[in-house]
């Protein structure tokens, strides 16, 4: 009996820290086998890639925690970049960047209101938003990349690329600060804990005096704002907003969040783990490229990893469901009688 509990505890610990183990594994393997992997330049470039998707993953994790889904993050990233850079010549970054972030928040607010108040399934709302925003982006830009070419924009772009601390550029630092503060907010404050409660069981949360609708709406707003921050900062660094900027982010962030151990069913997950998962995936992709393998191998491997993580979780749940309500000690007794 005692032995069994220990085994269970180890398994659950393994589950919780799975993503850290995975990260160390990927990192060690790449260090050993991928040429030119372990040097300051490459590690910096990994961290730069992590900065955008890591920020976006914060919002997406919170959305999953409250038990919803946001398919529109990819287009919000691009939309914010287009707004921020497109309005720069007219009003300057001082106004256009906050505007871009507010736009992201507003889109999140619309999503949230439609989900919580009109009670349309979030899958549908954000799917409609994805289509509508995609159209809006192309209508605004006419299908062209927006580039800013004046000195001020280049100066800011240079500053964003410069390493304040070795290997950490401003964007990376902003991402880490956001991740840590949201992590603490979710874990350590009552309001933060309420997000988990809403996602775990929204009826119970409501009965316990938590306004579930409000938390759902706030989650969507956070998701919109985070996507906008990720997008605008990335665009400012490259001084250009391409129209496929956020295209891959949905799959990237969704995979990372799930692999990081946040549950689609709601009520379970963590921002920091999602961030580490983004880091893991980015390291993996970077290593694959350095190993001389193509984009197709990257897609294939990340598909396999995501699928196996999902299947593993489902299998654990399946085995758990099978023995729920069974009383092994009574069965044993029955056997000894016979």
């Amino acid at each position: 009996m005692r032995n069994k509990i220990n085994k269970k505890q180890i398994l659950s610990l393994g589950d919780r820290y799975r993503i850290y183990v995975l990260f160390v594994l990927v990192f060690v393997v790449m260090t050993l086998f991928a040429p030119h992997f372990f040097n300051a330049w490459n590690l910096t470039s990994i961290m730069k890639t992590v900065a955008m998707n890591g920020t976006v993953a914060i919002g997406f994790t919170i959305i999953l925690i409250v038990g919803q889904l946001d398919l529109s993050i990819g287009t919000i990233i691009t939309f914010a970049a287009v707004i921020g850079l497109g309005l720069k010549d007219a009003v300057g970054y001082g106004v256009s960047v906050p505007l871009a972030i507010i736009a992201g928040g507003l889109i999140g607010l619309i999503n949230g209101l439609l989900v919580a108040k009109v009670k349309i399934n979030s899958f549908i709302v954000t799917l409609g938003m994805l289509t509508a925003l995609q159209g809006a982006i192309y209508t605004i830009t006419g299908g062209n990349t927006i580039a800013v070419t004046d000195d001020q924009a280049f100066a800011i772009s240079d500053w964003l690329q410069h390493q304040i601390v070795p290997m950490l550029t401003p964007r990376v630092i902003i991402a880490i600060v956001l991740v840590v503060s949201f992590s603490i907010f979710l874990r350590r404050t009552r309001k933060g804990r309420n997000f988990f409660m809403v996602g775990g069981n929204s009826k119970t949360a409501w009965l316990a005096g938590v306004d579930s609708d409000k938390y759902t709406i706030v989650a969507f707003v956070i998701s919109g704002v985070m996507a906008a921050i990720g997008g605008i900062l990335f665009a400012m660094e490259s001084a250009a907003a391409t129209l496929n900027l956020g295209t891959n982010s949905l799959m990237y962030v969704l995979s990372a969040t799930i692999i990081g151990g946040t549950s689609m069913a709601g009520g379970k997950g963590g921002v920091f783990r999602s961030f580490i998962a983004v880091l893991t995936l980015t390291t993996l992709y970077n290593g694959i490229v350095l190993l001389g393998l193509g984009n197709e191998v990257q897609i294939f491997i990340s598909g396999i990893i995501l699928a196996s993580v999902i299947l593993y979780e489902a299998f654990v749940e399946y085995r758990h469901d099978k023995v729920v309500g069974q009383r092994p000690e009574l069965l044993k007794e029955l056997n000894t009688i016979q």
């Binding site: 799917l127 409609g128 289509t131 982006i137 984009n295 598909g303 995501l306 999902i310 749940e317």
Partner: protein, 344 residues
């Protein structure tokens, strides 16, 4: 509150319910008629030409026939309460590219192997979602990604062309004809497939034992389980049907583009969901009908046609489509709630 006031509020709620009831019964076909009337109106005003002509009407159906085929199969998944099959795009691409590759052994081999591959994908989905109860959205998204990887690794990012692979001219011609064959010089083969599928699936979903069991599974899974329905098999069957219609769609798309490539079928996942949900199926499951889904497909076709005739740009079309999608679904959800037929 006095009696009089009580009466007043009742009356108002009744009249409101009356309107919503009409909306609910006429459903998507109300919207279809609305769009047709709008088209006629605009034509009378002289804003657009050639809307109310037989060939334009045929064009509308022709343009959405492939979407219709995919959506009709996927509707079974929505009906069973499992949202959608987001692996449809790469199922279409994979079955198409496999068919083109197998054309070297003749037309029949190509079609058979495409359906075998489609069935395998359906079985994988059926096992993962029916048996292991994985969340259908992330699972089908992950499988979509994985299948995409498989296609791109095996065919090394290349496209393949039927006429360069096939063993005989005859096979190429037959394959091209999947999309191009016209009956009476007008009615295309995909349209015939669509009509046959509508009749067949309508019967299966609303009249057969399977359909009724699937409805109970979608509406109340636990109750279905306790009343002796093999829920796992029902859900699995829905995913296999969807994979098979995706195969049919994939073959048609590949025949249309005359090229087997990984990007064939891109976008069909969300388009099909749009059609299904506009057609009155709710994601909660157990509600809606095949006829409704057909209506949803027709609305999308009409909308695209009208906007193109009006000269609305492709990208603005996306924007309008997204907004109309949310509005229609929102109204539908509201009408169900006000009629007391939905607790959500």
């Amino acid at each position: 509150m006095s009696d009089l006031e009580q009466n007043k509020t009742d009356l108002r709620s009744v009249s409101q319910t009356g309107f919503l009831k009409i909306l609910n019964v006429a459903g998507i076909y109300g919207v279809v008629v609305l769009f047709i009337l709008l088209g006629i109106f605009l034509q009378l005003l002289g804003v657009i030409n050639n809307f109310m002509t037989a060939s334009n009407m045929l064009n509308i159906v022709d343009a959405v026939s492939m979407l219709g085929i995919v959506a009709l199969g996927m509707a079974f998944i929505t009906y069973s309460g499992h949202f959608a099959d987001l692996s449809a795009p790469t199922t279409m691409a994979l079955t198409g590219i496999v068919a083109v590759q197998m054309l070297q052994f003749g037309f029949v081999a190509a079609i058979v192997s495409a359906f075998i591959v489609g069935t395998i994908i359906g079985l994988i989905n059926a096992f993962a979602i029916g048996k292991l109860k994985v969340n259908p959205i992330i699972w089908t998204l992950a499988l979509n990604y994985m299948t995409l990887g498989v296609i791109r690794v095996i065919w090394a990012n290349k496209q393949i062309y039927p006429d360069m692979i096939a063993s005989s001219e005859k096979a190429v011609e037959l394959f091209d004809n999947i999309y191009r064959l016209r009956f009476f010089n007008k009615i295309a083969l995909p349209m015939i497939m669509l009509i046959i599928l509508v009749f067949l699936f309508h019967f299966v979903m609303s009249k057969s034992k399977f359909g009724i069991q699937l409805k109970i599974t979608g509406a109340a899974k636990k109750s279905a389980e306790y009343s002796g329905i093999n829920v796992e098999r029902m859900i699995g069957a829905a995913f296999i049907i969807s994979a098979l219609t995706a195969t049919l769609g994939g073959l048609t798309v590949t025949s249309l583009s005359r090229v087997g490539a990984w990007y064939n079928g891109a976008g069909y996942d969300f388009k099909a969901v749009t059609a299904i949900v506009i057609g009155g199926m709710t994601l909660a499951g157990g509600r809606g009908s095949i006829i409704g889904v057909l209506g949803g497909v027709l609305v999308i076709g009409l909308m695209n046609n009208l906007m193109t005739l009006l000269g609305v740009g492709t990208f603005s079309q996306d924007m309008i489509r997204g907004i109309i999608f949310i509005i229609v679904v929102g109204l539908n959800a509201k009408s169900l709630r006000n009629l007391g037929r939905d607790d959500a």
